[in-house]
């Protein structure tokens, strides 16, 4: 039980690496930095494997393993007692604890695994860059945050990791901070994420208020107890707010805008944070909250619709972008949309499975793109590439495997996960399931198209780069190609972990996950009004004919999309024509400008658009409010102040001249005037007084003598 008992070491190791880098990194050799930072993550991967292995063997029923370290927020003294919305006594308490169940096991494995590979890759990719130790310190800090997020046993700890990965994302996007575009992109990512985080926080508070706990095991037990009815308004609100958080972190409409710009960061960062791991945190959080989401069908529908729309929306933009990393960024957004579509239709396991396979092939694509950029001396524009395949053969082959995987070609990883999502979308109940499936299907076609377009423009056709650049083209070092090969291997075989029943497999991966989500199926069938049943279990036997049909259809879509792109771009030379530009110029323009969403945000939110002197959108509204505040509210305030001052001036005049002047000083002046003759006697000269006295004396003497 060593690994399970010491599960806290897993996040702590990268934290140690990060701490070392921040305090001593500057003085360390590059080799030492690589050894420490790759070592901590690799060790964390080994510990993770050990922990999961022990977990699987000691908990065959897959009940969660929880290791509580200490109480972090709240105490046992009952100072934070409160009453829940329903009137039950509760205590706010968040622990530092580690929760290992099938869901977190999977995340743990691919985060540390892919993380290790990307760390190794980075030692090659960043070898000639400044700030080497800083880069690895951030990466290790990211690993710490991500593992905290995954292993947290309550929302509060999850939130700590959530914010931590956001911070690291910010730091790494802005790694080349001397470049304005990079620091702007970092700010954009941070601010947009903050909007989502606000939603997450509110959702967490709503849950604490309504259910009286933030601990996952407690919440799951309560949500599944049958005490809360389906459609409970507070839970619906909480689920929707959590989903706002997920939209921010996992780049869903309308908060996806930061992810394409995040490509300003170094490519390994794009691979690790903005493709494989961090952006799936939203999926993780929603999957983790599945017990709450299934009680909120409205939220589930929202998740499904937002996911589907994001998938097709981002894929459509990806069709025409020319920056190799941007195509991959939009592809990531699109694939995340798939995952949310799966979660939204109740196919949690399928969504998680897609996260898992996506982590490999998307990390591979990004790392491959990094390798291409490395070979191209920093060039990212695919219009200036071409014909790289024989000079960067490992990169080409591995990326080709990833392309097959993401396009969903049998039997590569993406085929199984994407097909599971499409199939379960199709079988989910609810009026929109056909439309959601159709969107997913069209997106699959688009995905194949833009991925093959990327491959053709990069590796095939005629070389379009300058001779200077062409001269320098070389395959990347072993530290970079090694991870590519490993990831390619995973991209081929990861999908087979869940070989579907219909093809004679046993669906192992999904079976492994089932205990995390299983109870909901029970609730749905008992209540008899399953709005979004998990995974469409009952239909599975009846319409497996349909399943083969859909499988064939999506395969056909992948081949059609890929083949089309192949035929169009295969031999593209300088100034090649975009078929979409030739065929539908307005649509191309709109897509090329990314549906003008950033411009829309400029009109609505950022205040960059002006009408004359007036900023538009929210900031304009702020300006209007400020104007109202300055001129009307402050005017009223100042008016009140002015009238007070005026009254005070009059009052002061009255006091000085009437009260003091007549009432107080008047009698004094009168006394002074009346006393004037008497004062004349007082000369102040002693001898005069004596003279008067003597005269008086003599007066008396003479008076009596006379008498």
């Amino acid at each position: 039980m060593f690994f399970l008992e010491h599960i806290w070491l897993i996040p702590l190791l990268p934290a140690l690496g990060a701490t070392l880098m921040f305090f001593f990194g500057k003085r360390l050799e590059k080799q030492t930095v690589s050894a420490v930072c790759v070592g901590t993550v690799a060790l964390a991967f080994i510990l993770s494997c050990g922990a999961v292995w022990q977990y699987v063997h000691t908990y065959p029923g897959s009940q969660p393993f929880e290791k509580v370290m200490y109480t972090w927020l709240g105490s046992d003294t009952g100072h934070l007692n409160y009453t829940t919305h329903d009137g039950y006594p509760a205590e706010f308490k968040a622990q530092v604890g580690f929760l290992l169940d099938p869901l977190s096991s999977i995340w743990l494995l691919f985060v540390t695994g892919v993380g290790t590979l990307i760390h190794i890759y980075s030692t090659g990719y960043m070898a000639h860059e400044g700030g080497y130790y800083r880069f690895f310190g951030y990466l290790n800090l990211f690993m710490f945050s991500m593992l905290t997020l995954i292993l947290g046993n309550n929302y509060a700890q999850l939130f700590v990791g959530w914010e931590g990965v956001g911070l690291c994302s910010y730091l790494l996007i802005g790694f080349y901070f001397h470049r304005k575009s990079a620091s702007d992109a970092a700010n954009k990512a941070f601010i947009v994420n903050r909007i989502g985080d606000a939603g997450f926080l509110l959702g967490m508070f709503a849950i604490a208020w309504h259910l009286g706990s933030v601990r996952f095991t407690d919440l799951n037990a309560m949500a599944r107890s049958g005490h809360y009815r389906i459609g409970d308004p507070v839970l619906t609100a909480a689920a929707l707010l959590l989903f706002v958080g997920a939209c921010g972190k996992s780049a869903q409409l309308p908060l996806y805008i930061w992810l394409p710009d995040a490509m300003e960061g170094p490519t390994p960062v794009s691979a690790l944070i903005h493709a494989a791991t961090m952006v799936t945190a939203g999926v993780y959080m929603v999957a983790r909250s599945n017990a709450i989401f299934v009680l909120a069908p409205t939220a589930m529908k929202t998740v499904a619709i937002v996911g589907a729309l994001t998938a097709i929306f981002a894929a459509s933009i990806g069709l025409v972008q020319n920056d190799i990393k941007r195509v991959l960024a939009y592809s990531t957004v699109s694939q995340l949309g798939y995952m949310f579509l799966a979660l939204g239709v109740g196919a949690f396991a399928a969504g998680v499975f897609h996260v898992f396979t996506h982590a490999f092939f998307k990390a591979l694509l990004f790392l491959g793109a990094g390798s291409v950029i490395h070979a191209m001396s920093g060039e990212q524009d695919m219009r200036n590439m071409g014909d790289l395949y024989h000079r960067t053969s490992i990169t080409h082959r591995t990326m080709f495997i990833a392309t097959l995987a993401i396009a969903g070609i049998f039997p590569f990883a993406g085929f199984f996960s994407k097909d599971a999502i499409l199939w379960q979308t199709w079988t989910s109940e609810g009026s929109a399931s056909l439309w959601l499936w159709l969107i997913g299907f069209v997106t699959a076609l688009m995905t194949a198209f833009y991925m093959f377009r990327l491959m053709c423009l990069t590796f095939h056709g005629h070389p379009r780069m300058s001779h200077e650049v062409e001269h320098h083209i070389h395959e990347s070092p072993k530290s970079m190609t090694g991870p590519l090969v490993v990831l390619a291997f995973c991209s081929i075989f990861a999908g087979m972990l869940s070989w579907p029943h219909s093809l004679g497999g046993n669906d192992r991966f999904m079976k492994f996950l089932e205990p995390v989500f299983a109870k909901e199926t029970g609730i749905f069938t008992e209540e008899g009004k399953a709005a979004q049943p998990a995974a469409g279990k009952k239909e599975e036997e009846h319409i497996s004919g349909w399943e083969y049909g859909l499988m064939g259809l999506s395969l056909a879509a992948a081949f059609v999309g890929g083949g089309w792109a192949w035929s169009v771009y295969r031999s593209s030379d300088k100034g090649y024509a975009e078929p979409l530009e030739a065929g539908a110029k307005p649509l191309y323009t709109v897509l090329y400008h990314k549906w003008y969403v950033d411009e829309g945000y400029d009109y609505l939110v950022t205040g960059r658009r002006r009408l004359g002197n007036v900023r538009l959108g929210v900031l304009g509204l702020g300006d209007a409010s400020a104007w109202f505040d300055v001129h009307v509210v402050d005017g009223l305030v100042n008016g009140a102040g002015w009238s007070t001052r005026t009254i005070a001036t009059i009052s002061k005049w009255w006091d000085t001249w009437i009260i003091d002047g007549i009432g107080v000083n008047g009698p004094a002046i009168l006394a002074r005037i009346l006393s004037y003759p008497f004062r004349l006697f007082e000369w102040g000269l002693v001898q005069w007084y004596a003279l008067v006295m003597v005269a008086g004396l003599l007066g008396f003497v003479f008076y009596y003598a006379w008498k």
Binding site: R679, E682, W683, G684, L685, V686, Q687, Y689, A690, L691, V694
Partner: protein
């Protein structure tokens, strides 16, 4: 030569008193004014001693008290004078006109 009677003493005392009063009222130097006050007091003393020939020793005893009192008065008066001189650098009584209102 007629014997010296009480009346003679009284005349001398009255003369001394008048001299004192005139001194107090007319001199400008505070020191001399104080000396004139001593003259007045001594005139009184002479009266008291003269009357004690007729009515017993009480008058002489009273005269002793007056002498004591005169000494004290002179001390206080000179003290005030010195304090005043330090402030105004003068002992001219005309310039001492603080005692009004």
């Amino acid at each position: 030569m007629s014997p010296i009677t009480t009346l003679h003493y009284l005349v001398v005392a009255a003369a001394l008193f008048v001299l004192g009063v005139i001194g107090v009222l007319t001199r400008r130097n505070v020191v001399i004014v104080l000396m004139s006050v001593e003259l007045i007091l001594n005139a009184v003393n002479l009266n008291l001693v003269a009357f004690s020939r007729i009515w017993g020793l009480h008058g002489q005893v009273f005269a002793i008290f007056v002498i004591t009192d005169a000494a004290a008065e002179a001390a206080v008066g000179l003290g005030i004078l010195i304090a005043f001189f330090r402030n105004k650098e003068t002992v001219n009584v005309d310039e001492v006109d603080l005692l009004k209102w």
